[in-house]
């Protein structure tokens, strides 16, 4: 392969997944290099650089930016191979990790075992101190007590390999002085010991969620630091001295060094990468409302874009009972992927997922030993997948094995094999539709006004039918749908998010300091991003919000305000500059409107309370143009294949290679559009058009086309 060794810059994005590591590199003229290699879970840096070596991009100063989306922190949490952590709590509340929230996941599951905390009980130290709900100090933290605690931490960590400390005291989100004092004492006495404190990691109320988040930060810290420092070393040794970073759960790029400082913020790095790219392609086809669906082998991740922007959430659970209370891209993950297993329950109903055949043994048709019928097997039997062109032809799919796997299911349902296959796909589509409904409706959004951006290996195969069933507007299939996550890391902005608790009644004079605090927070956030940026001329934008609720409610809604430059995404909203004289009144007004839009009513006579303020500083990645497909020159000729369309009807579908399609070209369904990393199904009555951005847009057929 020819090297593009000229001095102009490449931007490289890598998605370090559990099974595969994907790399996308974009060159100065928009040319694209793609590479997929098996992951090396215990030394993730190895696969990363292997992919780079194989990609045809010269490692070195020619690489201007090198960004990773990684599941390393996620996997440490799931596989429980993190650091030994000592937790410091307010004395009397040492068992917060064991008590949790006292509910359970399955209503009728008496056998359910509560999630084991990341810190065992004998590694928790109670600290004699107490802050009250208004921030006043009831029991001061004395120097003697701090000294005693430090000694206890020393004892507990002696002989432990790479330990860490988490500090989470009651009401530290109102008054952090005791946490800060402990952190100082620890760092002074034990300088090598990493310390995570809750008032910095997650300054929000609800002590269990905050403590657990802080503990997770400490738990993943040593492994993530090792990872980032080995990445940094490898980069240096290859003279890659550009912008080297990771993608955070909030969808922003962060330097390797900063990622290691607050590693809990990269827990959803891998998921965020996919969503960022989904949002990017939604923007490319100029849609302001879209649902992103990243459907891979074992799971499907659903996100929402309104006003052109991804949504954020304040809570994510690693498993039931282990929450992460951080602003993260709002993603709903369900166990529905190509590898999801179909079965019949004891009432005779068909179920698909959440169990997955995974990559190994995989669907029955992989021929790797899997026997359970999966969604991929069903698609193969319906003619929607090409047995000879799967993963660029690197894997042959075995239809006989698929058929054998589905036969018992068909018998139990009283169907023939093809109809059973259709039923499996249909249930899997409803599973995804359910997730999309929930995600949109949670926010008072009507999904029928939304486009569906479908990607991941299996997304384009199901997207059109999901949209059809739900009455969504149209489907957008990005280029190289199987590698979209790697692409997402490239295009993400650099980003810093900060929150601060500020409880004020908007109808009282005390609310006067909201705009003042907001401005201060915005400045701090911008400054922090400025430190992280290499270029002084980088454009930095800051948006702010105030989370409010009716006095008496217990959950907040974030009301956007505006600071710095005009926030494009919020053109529709009434912008409230913090220096506006009627800031608080307008904030209240916006809150009533937002509440009404979300839940169908407002309560204009009820007082409103602010709970916390937030600011986000963003510096967008430089624009780039890409040419993902070599395009028009390709000679692969179209063919026709029999495909089970719906309700038992087999149709002759046109089969084309995606890289043969020209911009502006239209393919009428039924059609199958194949490419190395994914397959797109265009049902009868739909047509796919190749958009300017090289996305496919699929809509009910208009009267024109091929």
């Amino acid at each position: 392969m020819s090297r593009t060794g000229d001095a102009t810059a490449w931007r490289v994005g890598v998605d370090n997944g559990g099974t595969f590591t994907d790399l996308v590199a974009v060159g100065p003229r928009g040319d694209v290099r793609l590479r997929k290699v098996p992951s090396t879970p215990f030394r993730p840096a190895d696969a990363t650089f292997a992919a780079l070596e194989l990609s045809g991009v010269e490692p070195g100063p020619g690489i201007d930016s090198f960004i990773l989306g990684t599941t390393i922190a996620t996997n440490v949490l799931i596989q429980r191979r993190g650091a030994p952590v000592v937790l410091l709590t307010t004395a009397g509340f040492e068992d917060v990790l064991y008590i949790q929230r006292i509910d359970r996941s399955g209503l009728y599951d008496l056998q359910w075992v509560k999630a084991e905390p990341y810190v065992p009980r004998n590694m928790v130290v109670g600290v004699a101190e107490r802050v009250l709900s208004d921030g006043s100090v009831r029991k001061p933290l004395t120097a003697e007590e701090a000294g005693r605690v430090v000694e206890r931490v020393r004892e507990l960590t002696v002989g432990e390999e790479k330990p860490a400390v988490a500090v989470s005291l009651l009401f530290s989100y109102v008054n952090d002085s005791h946490e800060q004092a402990l952190a100082e004492a620890l760092t002074a006495a034990l300088p090598d010991l990493p310390v995570s404190i809750s008032s910095e990691v997650a300054p929000v109320w609800r002590e269990y969620e905050r403590t657990n988040t802080t503990v997770m930060d400490a738990y993943v810290k040593p492994i993530v630091s090792d990872f980032t420092s080995s990445l940094a070393q490898e980069c240096t040794s290859r003279s890659m001295l550009g912008w080297n970073g990771l993608l955070r759960s909030n969808g922003g790029q962060v330097s390797l060094r900063d990622a290691a400082e607050r590693p809990v913020e990269i827990v959803l790095s891998g998921l965020a990468a996919g969503m960022i790219a989904g949002a990017h392609f939604a923007q490319a086809v100029k849609t302001d409302k879209a649902v992103t669906l990243d459907m891979g082998g074992t799971s499907a991740d659903v996100g929402v874009i309104t006003d052109g922007e991804l949504q954020f959430s304040g809570l994510f659970e690693v498993e039931f009972g282990l929450p992460l209370a951080l602003p993260i891209l709002d993603v709903t993950t369900i166990g529905a992927g190509g590898g999801s297993v179909a079965s019949v329950d004891s009432g005779g109903l068909l179920k698909v997922g959440p169990e997955s055949a995974g990559a190994v043994p995989g669907p029955a048709c992989y021929g790797l030993g899997g026997r359970a019928p999966t969604v991929t097997d069903a698609n193969l039997l319906m003619g929607r997948l090409n047995p000879d062109y799967f993963l660029n032809g690197e894997m042959r799919l075995d239809a006989r094995r698929a058929e054998r796997s589905i036969q018992p299911l068909a018998r139990a349902l009283g169907l023939d094999v093809a109809d059973a296959a259709e039923a499996v796909v249909s249930v899997s589509i409803e599973n995804m539709a359910g997730a999309i409904r929930l995600v949109t409706v949670d926010r008072g959004l009507d999904y029928r006004e939304f486009d569906l951006v479908a990607y991941g290996g299996a997304g384009p195969l199901h997207g059109a039918e999901i949209a059809l069933r739900m009455g969504m507007r149209r489907v957008v299939v990005p280029p190289n749908p199987g590698l979209v996550s790697a692409y997402g890391t490239l295009i993400a902005s650099q980003r810093v998010d900060r929150r601060v608790t500020l409880v004020r009644r908007l109808d009282h004079i005390e609310s006067e300091d909201i705009p003042v605090e907001l401005a201060r927070l915005a400045n701090e956030t911008a400054k922090e991003l400025g430190v992280q940026l290499r270029r002084v001329d980088s454009e930095v934008g800051v948006t702010t919000f105030v989370a409010c609720r009716y006095l008496g409610q217990n959950y907040e809604q974030e009301i956007r305000t505006e600071f710095g430059h005009v926030d494009r995404s919020f053109e529709l909203a009434v912008a409230i500059p913090p220096d506006a004289a009627d800031f608080v009144a307008r904030l209240a007004d916006r809150y009533h409107e937002t509440h009404k839009a979300a839940y169908g009513y407002d309560m204009r006579d009820q007082p409103i309370q602010s709970i916390y303020l937030g600011a986000t500083a963003l510096s967008p990645s430089p624009k780039m143009s890409i040419r993902p497909y070599s395009g028009e020159g390709s000679t692969h000729s179209p063919s026709v294949r029999s495909v089970l369309a719906s309700a038992g009807e087999w149709v002759d579908a046109l089969v084309v290679r995606r890289d043969c399609l020209a911009r502006g070209e239209t393919i009428n369904g039924p059609a199958v559009i194949e490419e190395a990393d994914s397959t797109t199904w265009v049902p009868p009555g739909f047509s796919a058009e190749v958009h300017e951005s090289q996305c496919l847009t699929i809509e009910p057929t208009k009267r024109q086309g091929r």
């Binding site: 509910d103 209503l107 109320w205 609800r206 039923a423 249930v427 409706v441 008496g552 217990n554 979300a598």
Partner: protein, 596 residues
């Protein structure tokens, strides 16, 4: 099964899809309620359910939030529809109802129901049931443990219009808001319930435009039939026979005597009868159950061991009959009080069914007794920080019983409910208390091959001038039982320590009460402290069969004390804290022979 799916197999797939959509609608309704509610019992505790009902008021789908509300979910809406008469409903009507003598569970739980129309035709109903934290009556928090009739338990509402064709019926609102101690909360919480109904209406409208009224109701019928067939299949697998068991409520708050619940389960082919007719006459105090609570407890017990994935709807009750004669503690007669039936009687009966009766045929799915009390602790007063009146209904987690494959979970809500705790930080922000601690109660669990889970200890200090407290709980006189050789768990305790004193006495001793666990309107003052100790679970199986390394780990973590390890498990831990295998084998041998 064929009878259940007479529409044919393709319809069966359609049915799965339809049921999923209905469940999603219920989840959406629940989410809206959680996000907008005022009382932490909604927003943190999630003490509510959301329902979709067919045009006859039969339950079709429910968001599984709180199983305790199952019985009411099946009957309360039916009551409204039958009593009011379907012909008297109009578009935009919303009915409220909390009457335990009309299909409700207990008075704090309010049901809202609204009819859904399609092209002018009544098509279905959506509803929800939620626990309002304060509804008046003789004690703040509306959980009057010393009530002797239902009129002392709060404001009782038969099916009543809250909205008439979309317009609020102001007189009714004003009656409710006047009789509740915290009208702002009622206002906010009822609005949260109304918002949830609107979400449900909007979603059902989509389905109706796809299928029409008859089409949708036919599908509802199929979903109900499916659940019935599922239950029949599960029951058929059980050996026919009559199985019996008993347990009791330890007192009713009025006199110091137990009330016995005697149950027999008759498995009869694919049908099953729960017969409670040999139970004690109803109590004077509020531990009685309305019929739906006994029904709920029985069905929940069944679902825990038989069919935990069955769609919960009107179909599940068809193969099951519950006999609970009126006038017994299992079916209270007017005007008997019953607020504690839902929280104390129901879990007692549910665990009697699971752990004492069905365990005879399904030991591997059974569990020893949990702490088995909701540990209701109520309080109200004026918050010195803002001069406003507040009231709260607090409940506590406890230990679950040991199980065939695992120890009981510690600090877990009583199994017939699925509520969450209120975080200390929200607790203290909302109400004038300061916690001294909130921790697990060490060395308290019932020993067993799989031990019980630990209860908790919570010490609270009064930070207002006066707080009026009440309690309604159980397991202060009788311990949670173990099964298959497991030991009893520890008991509930409610104690008080006057300001400045370090000594704790039970409320009973301190205030000269009839019952240690059921009392109302005790006035506490600034600096007084309350210690709540929740019970731990019973053990499952012989403690001498417990993996000695698991015991050693429990000792290391402080869950089990060194001497308990020795006395109950025959496990010897050496001076370094490690397991002494040799000494353990020898001690276990002697204990098994009854030597020590």
């Amino acid at each position: 099964m064929d009878g259940a799916a007479s529409g044919g197999a393709v319809d069966r797939v359609g049915l799965t899809l339809l049921y999923k959509r209905l469940r999603n609608i219920c989840d959406e309704m629940a989410f809206a309620m959680m996000r907008t509610a005022y009382s932490p019992i909604f927003s943190e505790g999630l003490d509510f359910s959301t329902l979709v009902l067919d045009r006859n008021g039969r339950l079709v789908a429910t968001a599984g939030i709180n199983p305790a509300m199952l019985g009411a979910s099946l009957y309360a809406a039916t009551w409204i529809i039958r009593e009011v008469g379907q012909e008297n409903f109009s578009l935009g009507d919303v009915f409220v109802h909390n009457d335990p003598y009309r299909g409700g569970s207990h008075m704090p739980e309010h049901m809202l129901v609204t009819p859904v129309y399609h092209d002018g035709e009544l098509a279905a109903y959506v509803g929800n049931i939620a626990h309002l934290a304060e509804i008046g009556g003789m004690a703040p928090g509306s959980f009057a443990a010393t009530a002797t009739d239902v009129f002392q338990e709060g404001l009782r509402l038969p099916p009543t219009k809250l909205f008439d064709r979309g317009e609020p019926v102001r007189d009714v609102w004003r009656i409710m808001l006047t009789n509740h101690r915290t009208p702002d909360n009622t206002w906010g919480d009822i609005h949260a319930m109304l918002g949830s109904l609107r979400v449900g209406e909007r979603r059902l409208a989509d389905m109706l435009s796809e299928r029409g009224v008859d089409g949708l109701n036919e599908a509802f019928e199929q979903i109900i039939d499916y659940a019935e067939a599922y239950m029949r299949e599960e029951i058929r697998r059980l050996p026919d026979g009559i199985y019996t068991g008993e347990d009791c409520m330890e007192d009713d708050g009025i006199s110091d005597r137990p009330y016995w619940i005697r149950s027999r389960i008759i498995v009869d082919g694919d049908e099953l009868i729960f017969d409670y007719s040999r139970s004690d006459a109803q109590a004077v105090g509020p531990i009685n159950a309305p019929y739906v609570v006994t029904l709920s407890a029985s069905l929940n017990g069944l679902l825990y061991v038989l069919a935990r994935d069955v769609p919960v709807n009107a179909g599940i009750v068809r193969p099951v009959r519950v006999v609970a004669p009126a006038g017994t503690i299992t079916c209270v007669k007017l005007p008997g009080p019953c607020v504690g039936g839902q929280t104390e009687f129901q879990p007692r009966v549910m665990e009697l069914v699971v752990g004492q009766i069905l365990s005879q045929i399904l030991p591997e799915r059974a569990s020893a007794a949990s702490g088995n009390t909701s540990l209701n602790f109520l309080f109200g007063g004026v918050d010195p920080r803002n001069g406003e009146y507040y009231a709260h209904y607090h409940f506590e987690g406890m230990g679950w019983g040991g199980r065939a494959e695992s120890d009981g979970n510690s600090a877990q809500i009583v199994p017939h409910a699925n509520c969450r705790n209120t975080p200390v930080e929200i607790f203290e922000t909302k109400w004038p208390w300061v916690h001294e601690n909130y921790r697990l109660n060490d060395d308290s669990a019932g020993a067993g091959r799989h031990r019980g889970g630990l209860g908790i200890e919570r010490i609270l200090e009064v930070a207002g001038d006066v707080i009026t407290v009440s309690a309604l709980c159980e397991r202060m006189k009788r311990s949670p039982w173990g099964i298959f050789g497991g030991s009893e768990g520890s008991r509930t305790n409610l104690e008080v320590s006057p300001a400045g004193s370090g000594d704790y006495r039970t409320f009973q001793e301190a205030f000269g009460l009839v019952s240690p666990s059921k009392f109302t309107n005790i006035r506490l003052h600034r600096g007084d402290r309350v210690r709540i100790t929740s019970p731990s679970g019973g053990g499952y199986g012989d403690p001498l069969e417990r993996d000695p390394y698991a015991v050693a780990r429990d000792v290391e973590l402080g869950f089990v004390g060194r001497s308990s390890a020795r006395a109950h498990y025959g496990v010897v831990i050496d001076a370094k804290g490690d397991l002494d295998e040799e000494a353990t084998t020898e001690l276990r041998g002697r204990l098994a022979d009854g030597v020590e």
